[in-house]
């Protein structure tokens, strides 16, 4: 436990079923990654993944739906949740899954939180493997990694508009690129 508190920019940490989640200040994520690599012995960054929490818990609780004006009878009952999920500090989380190549395979998740348009320091200088991982998250989720040497779209075409994995990106429709009127 005390090990985690010495991570630069430490905010909080939580034990999980497979690995602890350590929340770090966004501005100091690069320092935190370098510290984890050099002092805590996490040799590999296996994955970088961003999650969009827009509308998190918005389905509400199923069953009796109380609103300010009374009971909402129109709410689709089975679509709701059984309990409201824990609120998140900001819209996006960026998680770095770390792995130590030694006995017991220790793993950890460094996590930082950003809102729309806020940059995250790039960790490519710590782990070269994050080059494509960060480009993928930039491409699909629109997280800007500050200091990345080559931050371009990776999977979508260069001229694609929007970031498909965001929750406000429509599913099942896309703008028509070529019409007869043009």
């Amino acid at each position: 436990m005390s090990d985690w508190q010495r991570v630069p920019g430490y905010v909080s940490h939580r034990e999980g079923p497979e690995m602890p989640t350590v929340t770090v200040e966004t501005e100091r994520i690069r320092e935190a990654c370098a510290y984890s690599r050099d002092e805590l012995g996490f040799d590999v960054c296996v994955d970088v993944v961003a999650t969009d929490y827009l509308g998190w818990g918005g389905k509400g609780v199923s069953g009796y739906i109380g609103t300010a004006t009374g009971r909402d009878l129109m709410h689709p009952m089975t679509q709701g949740l059984q309990a409201l999920p824990e609120l998140k500090p900001k819209r996006f989380s960026v998680s770095y899954h770390l792995l130590g190549l030694r006995q017991g395979a220790p793993r950890a998740r460094l996590q930082c939180w950003v809102d729309e348009g806020e940059p995250v320091p790039s960790v490519v200088s710590v782990w070269p493997t994050c080059d494509w991982h960060e480009r993928e998250q930039y491409d699909l989720m629109g997280i800007v990694f500050d200091g990345h040497p080559n931050l371009e779209r990776l999977l979508m075409p260069e001229d694609w508009e929007g970031h498909p994995l965001r929750k406000d990106y429509p599913i099942g429709g896309e703008p028509v690129r070529f019409t007869d009127e043009e």
Partner: protein, 435 residues
Amino acid sequence: MSATVTPPTVRTRRWPVVADGQYEGTRIPSRVPTVLDVPPELRDSEDVLQVNFGPNHPSTHGVLRLIVDLHGEEVVGVSAVVGYLHTGFEKSMESKTYWKDVTFPERIDYVGYQNNELVFVLAVERLLELEVPTKAKWMRMLLCELNRIQSHLVFLGTSALELGAISMFWYCFRERETILDLFELVTGQRMHTRYFQVGGLAEDIPQGFFGECRKFVEWMPRALDDYRDILDRNEIWLERTQGIGVLSAHDAIALGQSGPNLRASGVDWDLRRDQPYLHYEKVDFRVPVYPNGDVYDRYRVRMDEMAESTKIVRQCLDKLERMEGMPWIADDRKVVLPPREELHTSMESLIHHFKIVTEGFRVPEGEIYVAVESPRGESGCYLVSDGGPKPWRIHVRAPSFVALEATATCLHRALVADLIAVVGSLDAVMGDTDR
């Protein structure tokens, strides 16, 4: 912010390394780790020719595109362009219930499908804290190992074919056919079997499977001897693979490599042994490690792995043959479909069946990352649940994606003819890379 990347400093090694003497220092390109830049002295030279390679050249593995700068026969610059097979699996999975999502991961890595299916199912089971019957665990192991052999056979057949050894392809696909027949026998499908369910297996193991599988297990070591006879003393094969596409242990770790590519670079690491899942701690197998990090060692690691997987399959068969009549799926009516025959007599079963099929089962709130050793390396599944019947966010950690990041480093001072050998040896499946 500066736009330069400092190369990682060489640190005291903690990981279990067999040898790291392939080259001094690091070869990871210094500006962008995945792009090999044309050296400054050649930048304005008229002798440098930029060639587009792919995305649908027959000898690239799938739709990989490489932009290659050639100076004579030497590769002086390379950058990989991926995304031609991007199908938005992660987005699609968010809009389906867990129950229906099981079909998606298989199509991500369409050669190592059982392992991808496994990692998704394991992640959901971990969030549900659902205990799986032991028979299901052994059967999952057996199928995953058969799938590993099948995947390595595809690798061996196609990468030898690309170097001109066309007969290897026919031999490898002969054995691959047998494995696909075994899958068909168990699941009704040759590929994309959808046999693993959350909670266990979709159906019991059919009659006659053990006998057929035993025949294969007896045959496979002899087939491996055939392959060795064809390749191991073949002068052309040796010259075109030995010392080509070298990757040191240090660079492999910095580039996040895993699986056979990491073991061929001399790092003794296998998730099946070092972070056991299913019943891998109960079987006896060896982790092959080779020190040179070249194309030849990547081939040797996969050859040895096929032999080890055959051993694991045999041990699974020994266990499973004594488990006749034992349950193959967990008895949790909130998650697992009730037995078919109960639907005619039990109202509760009918309700549970209806709820699971229409609405889906609910998975408790939480986030989880589960990793397994797929034929290509660490295949991971990151799953966020908000407590509802559909996943909030799914991310698949694709080993092929990471393997292709090493292309630029491996192609340091390579010749254009080696390009195909090197890219083939990294064994990237483009469905896995682009998702």
